[in-house]
Symmetry: C2
Subunit: 412 residues, 2 copies
């Protein structure tokens, strides 16, 4: 019985990650014969989780091979993304399709748990669709998350220490479902591995930047958890011990202090230097974004650098240099197959790849770097949200029939 449960889960997982697949393709991937796939698919169809369709472009002639499709519209999760400058909620269908989303800006600092949870719950409840079975809830948070209960152990941007985020969000939603919470970079790494720039590469590093810089590191296809689940804290790797910018963690010279949003914006003169290393921030030139923070502000610097703004270009090069040092260190330590740049680091890497490449050539061992590809996040601004959705689908994929039954009972 247990084995059957996990076979159904495996089949559903293939369809969830890869989209419509023929019975023949499923039989090959799972190493069973087609009649077994036929029987398993029938059970999943009966539970309303998949349907069989003629593949697009076939005509009625001959004997077309049916494809198994996820019931994306009928089966979904709620996914939340708590990022530095916005709160996002989405209904994401089986198969990883974002069906509908809501977003709200959020103030940068000093936001208490209660306020954030209340806003998220409003966004989330607005997305509930009576025609779609909600099978789970997942959330991405920009901080260190205790495995199991979604407790935020440390979230420097909001000043959170030991806040019961998962539990409180579950209560506020009032749907009778637990909220599975993960660190944003961990979730982004898993999402890129499943369906993004890291498919097929089991030793993968995903770097996610906003104000903070987080890492999701897969070792042999598994997220590096460590002794208690807090591994991958790349953002606080000390890269500049002599002349480092101050970091929200209280230290100086951490990778995130040298490569995050504030570093780029202050190096470009768009915000005052937090270390006051320049007496006065340069005045913003005409045409610059009026909103000084966030990914739009980062993209404005990158755009201006490309257009010949010298301060912007120097800032991009400086941040790229530090990013390259961080990546070189990670290549030495992890001998990865791919390093993926996400969040605002996606924009930074796109503009500063020469600096990054130069530092890697200088500081990473030739043997360690010879197989390492550097890539932009394929899921871009949705990587963490898709990762949160996948977290929400975990229960369904572990035991599809039971989870569907439970979700139906909870919804009533």
């Amino acid at each position: 019985m247990h084995r059957h449960r996990s076979s159904l889960g495996d089949l559903l997982h293939h369809v969830h990650v890869s989209g419509p697949l023929s019975r023949a393709a499923l039989a090959e991937r799972m190493g069973v014969n087609r009649s077994t796939i036929l029987a398993w698919t029938a059970e999943l169809v009966a539970a309303g989780l998949v349907r069989e369709e003629h593949p697009a472009g076939t005509t009625g002639a001959g004997r077309p091979s049916l494809v198994v499709c996820p019931e994306s519209e009928r089966v979904s999760v709620l996914a939340f993304d708590v990022a530095v400058d916005r709160l996002v909620a989405a209904r994401v269908g089986l198969g990883g399709r974002i069906l509908e989303r809501r977003a709200a800006p959020r103030p940068r600092a000093g936001v208490d748990l209660d306020t954030v949870v209340r806003k998220l719950a409003v966004l989330g409840r607005d997305l509930i669709d009576p025609d779609s079975l909600c099978v789970g809830v997942g959330a991405s948070y920009c901080g260190m998350i205790r495995p199991g209960d979604g407790m935020v152990r440390y979230g420097p941007e909001m000043g959170w220490v030991d806040q019961a985020f998962g539990t409180e969000l579950s209560k506020a939603l009032g749907m009778g479902l637990p909220v599975a919470v993960g660190n944003e970079a961990h979730l982004g790494a898993l999402a890129e591995y499943q369906r993004g720039a890291g498919v097929g590469t089991a030793d993968l590093i995903y770097l996610h930047g906003d104000v903070g810089v987080g890492g999701g590191i897969l070792v042999g296809g598994k997220l590096l958890g460590g002794e208690s689940g807090y591994g991958c804290e790349v953002g606080h790797m000390l890269v500049n011990p002599v002349d480092g910018r101050p970091c929200l963690c209280g230290s100086r010279g951490c990778l995130e202090a040298e490569t995050g949003e504030y570093a780029l914006l202050s190096a470009a003169g768009r915000i005052p230097d937090p270390a006051s290393r320049t007496a006065e921030p340069r005045r913003a030139e005409p045409g610059h974004q009026t909103r000084p923070f966030g990914r739009d502000a980062v993209r404005a610097v990158v755009r201006d650098a490309a257009a010949g703004d010298r301060a912007a270009a120097a800032a991009v090069a400086e941040i790229g240099d530090w990013l390259g040092i961080g990546v070189a260190n990670l290549i030495n330590l992890f001998n990865p197959g791919v390093v993926i740049f996400g969040g605002m680091l996606r924009d930074v890497y796109a503009a500063a790849s020469p600096q990054v490449a130069a530092r890697i050539a200088q500081h990473a061992m030739p043997v360690s770097r010879e197989r390492a590809q550097l890539r932009l996040s394929a899921l871009a601004d949705d990587a963490t949200l898709i990762g949160a959705a996948d977290l929400g689908f975990t229960t369904l994929l572990a035991d599809p029939l039971q989870a569907a039954t439970n979700a139906l009972a909870t919804a009533r």
Copy 2:
């Protein structure tokens, strides 16, 4: 059949790692009943791999429970350790007992493959004992090793690039056995995990210092290999990008350049500063070791620091500071349960633990460091040699009866 092979291997592995164990203890560890242990033990006894004994201290009265012991004297491997200042060979018995050893000094640089292999073969052949079945050969090397064939991809201390060390040593020994080669820090990590300071802690970091600094990092009990087996290169993590000491890799400011033997000895004025940052090295005070390099020279600095030599104390503190930065970075990245200091770093950490602790407090996230223990290597100067021996025992433990039969045939 395959399952039986691995059951016998598991039983032998328990006895190899833990020493004499009662049938009851084995039954509990392996989750089978005692009569099964009895049957399996009988097969291993017949193959000459274990024996059953009355435990030490029992008298003839009552019904003493027999213990299963490894046949350490009768079953052994040859283990080699190519370290920065010496070549070591040992015969190591099943159970990890070093039965006999030979060592020779080696010049520091420019030693070609042929010379090293010839010297090792002489040391090794001298240890062959006709009364002991040699079941394998393992070697520890201070460089980056290609998995599978023991090719040294990069060994900066000897200037080796792509040298077929394993293959050539096997030829030179002429015993008809392959030589399994591993990086010294990888092997030290596995040895400390099996029978040293890391028993029971599956997320473990072992740092090994001599001239180079290597790392062996276990993630969930497995060595971090990465995409092609070259993970764990902690020594070339850039920690001092501004004012770094030159490194043998050609870069500057790498962890090994700031914490290895040359850094300590030059900071203490015992050897000229390789960066010539001081115009002239301080003259050695009377009573200092005459031999300027190696672990004895390192221990002399540590001893002199404790005895009040100010230059030595300052050097220990400075190197401890950089070591602490490196360890803090590793704690952030790996959330380890234990960090173990081996090689000359064992001596450095013993003397500089306050500096290391201060840097960890400053740069490692509280959540990441809360479970991390810092320990001295329990196997001390034998960690890498014991690790090499364990590599030599791999084939035997995978299929004990077949491997014993093969070894017997090879020996004839």
